[in-house]
Amino acid sequence: MHLAAPQPSQRRRRPAPSRALWLLITAFAALLVTALPASAAAEPACSPDPETACLIGTMRTAAGDPAVGVQLEVVGPDGSETVTTGDDGRWVLAVHTAGEYTVNLDVETLPAGETLRDPTVTSRTLTIELNSQAGALFALGEPTSSGDATAEPSSASPSDTSTDSDPTTETPSTSPGTNRVAQQFANGLVFGLLLALASVGLSLVYGTTGLSSFSHGEQVTLGAILAYVGVQLVGLPLWAAALAAIAIGGATGWLQNLGIWAPLRRRRVGLTQQMIVTIGLSMALQYLFQFFFGGGRLRIVTTSSSPVRIGPVVMSVQTLISAGIAIVVLAGVAMFLMYTRTGRATRAVSDNPALAAASGIGVESVIRTVWVGATALAALGGVLTGLYFQATTWNMGGTILLLMFAAVTLGGLGTAFGALAGSMVIGIVSEMASLVMPSDMRFAGALLILILVLLIRPQGILGRRDRIG
């Protein structure tokens, strides 16, 4: 992994910017800039979930008692809404669209004798994401010239839209069966299979090029979003949209390799450096998705699939079909790696690129195939995961990415079959974890396994020890 400043001879070649890739994504997405459907409805109570955000506040008098009956007008993307503080001085407004909201305080409705501590500030602006809550505070008391009233999170804070809230802490599209353990195990199997689609590709890329690609998660998101676009915006049937998503996903892999990774390899840019490039790419793509599709949930199909009971387990027909597709495709990938010439060449390159090159294998063409295959698999994984979680979001892939890394590391970096095994373990662990820990921490459980594995068997389940330093 040696990388110094580029050698003079390497410096001559500049990689062509991946203009083609950007064009593709931008052109595709530009067709579809649409306002998100949403309706803001005032509810007495509010708890944030992936479709809901809560604007909250508490008004207290200078003496610290609840200020009852204060009216506030909240102006947001979906119009305006007026709320009144309750007996406890609290007000709550549930909204279903992410964006910027302005909270205007009606000074006339303040309890008699009360004044704002900072009379000039009667309105607060908040930017809020779904699945989160934000408060607007107006402090009452003796007027001072200072601005004690604070908006939280402060609109000046750079963190506003850079939050990493998770869409996939959502329950999958199954209703619980009679036996919770069996149900969670079955869910884990399905999730593991879907995860495997993405992580096998990640593992192949790592095996052939040595690159830990952090942008692989966005390839998954891309698949899901393309399916959403195909079904909801273009009106294609699901199967056609999925095929289109896979084809476009694979094309982005081909273009990426052509425009970014191949030139970087030719320049002998170090692997760590390339890894940080993938991080930059990941961030750019993620926020590009947010730019075009917003922060909300995108449902690929709006109808829910009918449940089927198999022994103690209940699964939706859609989930069963997804699992079937995943099994068939993964078996196909395994056959490809075992029995085709290109597949064997791929494994040879993973084992020892120098030796493979010396024995006449076209390493670059193998890597090209791997990139196309890996991104196409990721797109398929994205479509199926999006269906499994009932919706996708701009950062779905980013959340799954770490589970993918966990799977790949667990199986042994760079071995495709290890990635498959690792994915199943991670899938089952993250679903079964909710039996013993709070369900919003189940991914933490899966990641913890990653760290424990590194502690005990750093080469992973199927990896070889000599792969480590």
Partner: protein, 327 residues
């Protein structure tokens, strides 16, 4: 377009507490990466430890010094737990494990089962933990204006916080400068270049890497405290994006340089504010402010890619000396 206001916003960003917080986090990352060659992809996790440690300790009535210490200790423990399994492994393992550990920390503090302690998803409201820090403020009550910049003296996004934040940055810069020029820094630099060579000379590489990991994590934790003091503690604001921003800042300013992290932070936030302000002020209604925000993050990602490919030494680095090299 109101250029006076835009430029005022941009200039305000140059000494905002958040800019200082990012500079501190980037200084910490510089100790990890620039000085030692450790690929820490979980700097946000250290910031989270600092922020939550400080806030929770304060809520339980601890005085400021003890709360700060609690945040620092939380970050140090986090570093040690991370370092034990990974510092003996190859560089990309450290990258994956640090990012995973930072995410575990985030999942944990935002979990609804810990709402009683961490506030869960909603986090900890500012007024619950800012009091003791604000009470230390030696400035008179009220607010003060320096030209167009008017802030409260002591409360929230205040002059007091700016003074403390930038003083910490200054102290950190002096310390890092001292360390870089010292024999200790020389050993770290040797480890960055080739840890086996350093090991063969009888230095306990593992221990040095651990010291660097902890030290950088402590700066990160201080950054985390400054980061949340103007507003509130929220787990999702302390996630992956934050780490990637810190990386961009470090690589922009120049890894392994003393002033690189500070310069990177100043430039990044000023430029982002400029872009956001201009986009928001566009007379036609093309993009919403959320989109303007997203667009600015796209730019950060692209900047990171371009920097790493074309100018890995950043603005201040010496191309002969600085390189991105995995351990």
């Amino acid at each position: 377009m109101d250029w006076t206001r835009i430029l005022t916003n941009v200039a305000g960003e140059l000494f905002a507490p958040a800019t200082a917080a990012y500079a501190l986090a980037a200084i910490g990352l510089n100790v990890h990466f620039g000085m030692t060659g450790l690929i820490n992809m979980g700097q946000a996790g250290f910031m989270l430890m600092g922020a939550y440690g400080f806030a929770i300790a304060t809520m339980n009535g601890w005085p400021v010094w003890a709360a700060v210490l609690a945040g620092l200790i939380a970050a140090a423990i986090f570093a040690i737990i991370l370092g034990i399994p990974t510092l003996q492994l190859r560089g990309d393992y450290l990258a994956i494990v640090t990012i995973a550990a930072a995410e575990i920390a985030r999942y944990t503090v935002r979990s609804s089962s810990l709402t009683w302690l961490t506030g869960g998803n909603a986090g900890i409201s500012g007024n619950d933990f800012k009091g003791s820090f604000q009470n230390l403020c030696p400035l008179p009550e009220g607010s003060w204006a320096l030209g167009p910049f008017q802030y409260s003296n002591c409360l929230s996004n205040s002059w007091w916080l700016r003074i403390v934040g930038w003083s910490l940055v200054a102290i950190a810069v002096v310390l890092v400068w001292r360390w870089m020029k010292s024999p200790w820094g020389r050993v770290l630099k040797g480890i960055r270049e080739d840890e086996d060579a350093v090991r063969s000379l009888g230095k306990n590489v593992y221990s040095y890497k651990m010291q660097a990991l902890v030290l950088g994590g402590l700066f990160g934790a201080l950054g985390g405290m400054i980061y949340v003091l103007p507003s509130a503690v929220q787990a999702d604001a302390l996630g992956r994006t934050l780490t990637f921003n810190v990386w961009t800042i470090l690589l922009l300013g120049g890894a392994a340089t003393v002033f690189g992290p500070v310069l990177g932070s100043l430039i990044m936030w000023a430029v982002l504010m400029l872009i956001k302000s201009v986009l928001r002020d566009m007379p036609w209604d093309v993009i919403t402010s959320t989109q303007a925000e997203a667009f600015s993050w796209v730019l950060v990602g692209v900047t990171l890619m371009v920097l790493v490919i074309f100018r890995p030494q950043g603005i201040l680095g010496d191309p002969k000396e600085v390189a991105i090299d995995g351990r």
